[in-house]
């Protein structure tokens, strides 16, 4: 039986994370806890480092400072072997789908199973069909990934991500660039997958409506820190100026419409002076 202490502990803990890319500070003292078995969405403006956060959680990047624990294990300190063992229990859905282009849809879903298990071919076949059926693409198994639409590719990628029955799944911008029908399909798939498999889902997104509808917890990040966090309805009720601007999509507010710089008046006058020279 599952240990109640583990059941209650957060699945992911991030403490005082600092990460910079070149000279740009992406995260500065960022801390958050992601509860087990729930859907948590990390939201923030473009360029706020949401995808980077997933890569840090997955151990593809190392923090400059601070620590990240997944399932009680500190990701940056794991040996390659243990990191790979952790990743087997972690699925990731890339924005592009990231399907292997030289393999068919079927073989893409079968890929992690072939790499990590020694299942007989008929069991593997049944398992792949089961995963493809779950995303509604069983009949598309022989297609080439290049012929799939963006939404279909993402569904195949989801089938692949759940192939090894992970207990954590990371979604990178799952709603970006989808038509309303496909969007609806992905939203319901994420919710359904979470419930039926009892896994922890972490989404990064800036699609407010979908993310608020689907999530148990929402974390808002900006300027490298957590601005606000909590269940969606609470967040909307007590939203600060910044959160309100973000959640309601107002063009101007604490985040200015104009890129910061000298005032328009000074700039115009400055140009006038130069012309006199």
């Amino acid at each position: 039986m599952a240990d109640p202490a583990v059941e209650d502990s957060p699945h992911i803990v991030i403490e005082n994370l600092r990460f910079r890319r070149g000279r740009k500070m992406i995260f500065d003292d960022l801390s958050m806890r992601i509860p087990r078995g729930q859907v948590t969405t990390v939201m923030g403006p473009s360029g706020s480092g949401k995808t980077t956060l997933l890569r840090l959680v997955g151990g593809q990047l190392r923090p400059d400072k601070g620590r990240i624990w997944v399932d009680g294990q500190e990701v940056a300190r794991l040996s390659t072997r243990r990191l790979y063992a952790l990743r087997k229990r972690m699925g990731m859905l890339f924005q592009s789908g990231a399907l292997l282009t030289d393999l068919s849809v079927f073989e893409n879903v079968a890929f992690p199973l072939r790499e990590h298990t020694d299942l007989p071919e008929d069991v593997l076949h049944a398992l792949v069909l089961l995963k493809l059926e779950a995303v509604g693409l069983r009949a598309a198994r022989d297609l080439d990934p290049a012929t799939l639409s963006g939404g279909m590719a993402r569904r195949v990628a989801l089938a692949r991500a759940i192939a090894l029955d992970p207990d954590l799944i990371l979604y990178d911008e799952p709603f970006t660039g989808l038509d309303p029908i496909t969007m609806g399909q992905i939203v319901s798939l994420i919710r359904r997958t979470n419930q039926s498999l009892g896994l922890t889902s972490v989404l990064v997104s800036h699609d407010v409506t979908e993310a608020m509808a689907i999530s148990d917890q929402v974390v808002l990040i900006a300027d490298g820190r957590v601005v606000d966090a909590g269940p969606p309805d609470e967040l909307e009720a007590r939203a600060s100026d910044w959160s309100a601007q973000f959640l309601q999509g107002r063009p101007d507010g604490p985040v200015p419409f104009h890129y910061p710089g000298a005032s328009y008046r000074d700039d115009l006058l400055g140009q006038g002076e130069r012309r006199d020279d």
Binding site: G58, Y84, R87, A98, T101, P112
Partner: protein, 260 residues
């Protein structure tokens, strides 16, 4: 003045950084070679794609190089009344030099650029990243089999190039210019030494195969994940590996024949 010194320093540091990364990449790839023995099928597929698919250009080039060698050799040799030595001249030029070098240059253009573009695109479309997240090590699953395939294919392609070249020389020398058929082959046999000539050519082609495939696979891995980045990496593969082949050929020839 200081600017140009700073620029020189920056260029040198960048070049050394790339070289260092290429070396670390090679070591990580070599450390993953056990996959080749465990799942030879992965390498076999790549031997087909980099080796077998390069056959056409290698065979056609070998044929023409052999034919041209026979023409050029005959013109000089006939002045000295030594037209019978044609077989030896053609075979030596091919086995020692042209076989390994021209094959490596063609291999860099045909298979090297394809490897770089394929890996660069896999990186751009996050396929390598996705593989890592599926707990599959791309060094084992992707890089090592391609590296070994290139490294195995090159000497075989060079051997085919030389063999076809000898036949091309025969077609022109014997068929067109009237050199005696028996003399063509007996001369070839008497002047070509197994250790000195054939083996040195094989060693060259193994070294070239190693270097060209290393450069090609590394350039793909190191490509900037943009369309411009892939185009630059592909060009780099062809340019850098061609220069490396020519430079190494000079050094190897010096080592093998210079001292004697």
């Amino acid at each position: 003045m200081t600017d140009s010194i700073a620029a020189l320093g920056r260029t040198t540091i960048n070049a050394l950084t790339v070289f260092g990364r290429a070396f670390i990449f090679l070591i990580r790839m070599l450390a993953s070679l056990d996959i080749v023995f465990r799942r030879f099928g992965l390498t076999l597929v790549q031997v087909y794609s980099v080796g077998v698919r390069s056959l056409l250009i290698i065979v056609v080039s070998g044929l023409f190089v052999g034919m041209v060698l026979a023409y050029q050799g005959y013109i000089t040799l006939v002045n000295f009344g030594a037209a019978e030595a044609l077989g030896g001249v053609v075979a030596l030029s091919l086995v020692r030099e042209l076989g390994p070098v021209v094959t490596a240059l063609l291999f860099a253009g045909r298979a090297g650029s394809a490897l770089t573009a394929e890996l660069g695109l896999m990186k751009t479309t996050e396929q390598l990243s996705a593989m890592e997240m599926m707990a599959v090590n791309p060094y084992r699953r992707i890089f090592a089999p391609r590296f070994v395939a290139g490294f195995l294919s090159m000497p075989l392609l060079a051997a085919i190039f030389s063999a076809v070249g000898v036949m091309g020389g025969y077609l022109v020398g014997v068929g067109l210019l009237g050199v005696d058929s028996g003399a063509y082959f007996s001369q070839m046999q008497s002047v070509t030494d197994w250790n000195e000539d054939v083996l040195s050519g094989v060693i060259k082609s193994i070294v070239f195969g190693f270097v060209v495939t290393w450069i090609a696979v590394f350039q793909g891995f190191n490509a900037q994940p943009t369309s411009e980045g892939i185009s630059r990496a592909t060009t780099q593969t062809v340019v850098v590996s061609s220069l490396a082949v020519l430079g190494l050929d000079f050094i190897l020839t010096g080592l093998m024949f210079g001292a004697g």
